[in-house]
């Protein structure tokens, strides 16, 4: 009987990882990709330490300072939570609610808009298990899974055999990759596959719509005709959209929905957001359950708006204290925005000494999901995955958030 663990490196949430220990050190990690393996192998590296104003302190002092800043804050925001379990995300949302604060995660500038359409049933969706068992056309649009989701193609989509896809990728699958350049994923396009070099995603969307209506599009006619023809050969096809699609659509989601509807008039096509962070969707769904919105939410105004996006709040100097947990905005947000984090009271809760931790006022060290803390995480196709910690630590995200919550009525 083998003990399998779940890797929290990305939204694939591979739950078939075998780990061999040597005391408290991880010696061997089987099956996980480079990023996932390193999370286990190097879990002791670059750890965060309790810090106040750049000086190392005792853990309790950091907690108390965090509590103090939160209590005194008049305009409080919570951000991140992309790598922490749903159980911890729930507590963060409770804190935001009690403080009438703002709450947001990376999905606002990442795949939130696409996830929202799926959660509101505006786009038909499926699970990766369905894709593996039934999907013929595997269409990666604006995403390079080889780099962002390394095992995606071999575990869920193009390469594995499935119930109705027993003859393998060369006969039973048709790969389509649409990207602005020939990414590593696009290099896998060989026979029974197609690479679409996209300069304007909206024109490709338009091409599909026009071709189905038997009209001549401005561009990408051959590509659209071929892909639709392939989709019609089977009764299950899937489009997985990433950041390239999200930004390429320039906010024209209605057009994309129109395209999906049109495609479903002539073939069966599902949509799955190809997310990056392990539990980004977990936050979206957890907040959605509570408020009906997936991100950029204000508990004071009881609504979601671009004004309440974390980067907008920072840009417009609307917060005095920010709790950044399980995320590294200095790494991902534009500099002009992230530099504000050094000016306000930033409390970072993170297992690692991230870039944001290096400029924060207070740093509270926490646990690494999948290694030192378990819980539930939601895969980018919406399937809930159980995560177990290799070692369970008392100090983890749930513990830290419960401690911080103590000072809120």
């Amino acid at each position: 009987m083998v003990d399998y663990y779940t890797c929290t490196g990305c939204s694939c949430l591979c739950d078939d990882i075998e780990v061999e220990l040597d005391g408290e050190n991880v010696k061997i990690v089987k099956t996980a990709c480079r990023r996932g393996s390193n999370i286990f192998l190097e879990y002791k590296e670059n750890r965060a330490e309790p810090i106040i104003d750049g000086k190392k302190v005792e853990f309790e002092e950091a907690i108390k300072k965090g509590q103090e800043l939160m209590e005194n804050s008049e305009n409080f925001a919570i951000y991140g939570m992309d790598t922490i379990p749903v159980e911890a995300q729930k507590i963060a949302i409770e804190i935001a609610e009690s403080k009438e604060a703002y709450i947001d995660n990376s999905s606002t500038y990442c795949l939130g808009d696409l996830v929202e359409m799926v959660l509101k049933n505006e786009l038909p969706t499926a699970t990766f298990e369905d894709v593996k068992d039934y999907a013929y056309v595997i269409f990666y649009w604006g995403v390079d899974p080889h780099n962002s989701l390394p095992r995606h193609m071999s575990r869920y989509t193009y390469y594995p055999r499935g119930k109705k896809r027993q003859r393998g990728y060369e006969e039973d699958r048709y790969l389509v990759v649409a990207d602005v350049r020939k990414s590593h994923t696009a290099m896998l396009v060989a026979k029974n596959a197609r690479f679409i070099q996209v300069d304007d995603d909206l024109k490709l969307v338009d091409a599909f719509i026009k071709v189905i209506d038997k009209q001549m599009p401005e561009k990408y006619a051959d590509d659209a005709v071929r892909v639709i023809r392939e989709m019609q050969k089977a009764d299950f096809n899937v489009i997985m959209g990433g950041l390239g699609l999200r930004y390429g659509l320039k906010g024209n989601y209605e057009k994309f929905k129109e395209m999906m509807n049109k495609m479903n008039e002539v073939a069966k096509v599902y949509f799955i957001p190809a997310g990056c962070h392990a539990n980004m969707r977990g936050f979206n769904e957890t907040l959605f359950e509570k408020t009906g919105f997936i991100n950029k939410y204000s508990f004071k105004d009881k609504e979601s708006s671009l004004d309440y996006a974390f980067f907008e709040l920072l840009k417009n100097d609307k917060v005095d204290t920010a709790l950044v947990i399980g995320s590294d905005p200095v790494n991902s947000l534009p500099f002009e925005v992230s530099k504000k984090l050094a000016k306000i009271n930033t409390i970072v809760v993170d297992p690692r000494n991230s870039f944001t931790a290096k400029i924060a006022k207070v740093v509270i060290p926490s646990a690494i999901s999948g290694v030192e803390q378990g819980g539930t995480m939601i895969r980018s196709d919406g399937v809930r995955v159980k995560v177990n910690g290799l070692f369970e630590r008392e100090i983890n995200d749930v513990y830290v958030l419960e401690r911080l919550k103590e000072v809120i009525a």
Partner: protein
């Protein structure tokens, strides 16, 4: 030509060409050949070389291998962790490693020119000596 082909396939060793080693006049050719054949020492029996620094551990090679699909249909063949240790390739500590090259279709009497693992590696982490 036949001997040269068998040299590359490791069925013969360079030392078996006794005149090459025993006669003075062939010293230059001998040294050149030793230099040319050096990469073979690093390659496996079927001439497969793994460049770990290019591998991201995507497992494409493990899942597409026809031998793996046959031997482990519900493990590797289905994209999941292998259910057996008897495999050609495995991903361990984030990169691919060779386990048992004997099972590879490129080797042995009934060998086939199979390049599926290399073809589905977009970073050229896997390559074959024959090019």
């Amino acid at each position: 030509m036949s001997f040269a082909f068998k040299l590359v396939n490791r069925e013969r060793k360079l030392e078996e060409c006794t005149p090459l080693f025993e006669e003075e006049k062939y010293v230059r050719q001998k040294n050149k050949l030793i230099e040319y054949l050096k990469p073979l020492e690093e390659a496996t029996e079927t001439g497969l070389i793994v460049k770990e620094e290019l591998c991201v551990g995507c497992s494409n090679c493990v899942v597409v291998c026809p031998v793996h699909v046959e031997k482990d249909p519900y493990g590797c063949g289905s994209g999941l962790a292998p259910k057996t240790d008897k495999l050609i390739l495995k991903v361990e500590n984030g990169v691919v490693h060779v386990v048992d090259m004997d099972m590879c279709r490129r080797y042995g009497k009934d060998r086939v020119l199979c390049v599926v693992c290399r073809e589905n590696c977009p970073t050229d982490a896997i390559s074959f000596l024959e090019g």
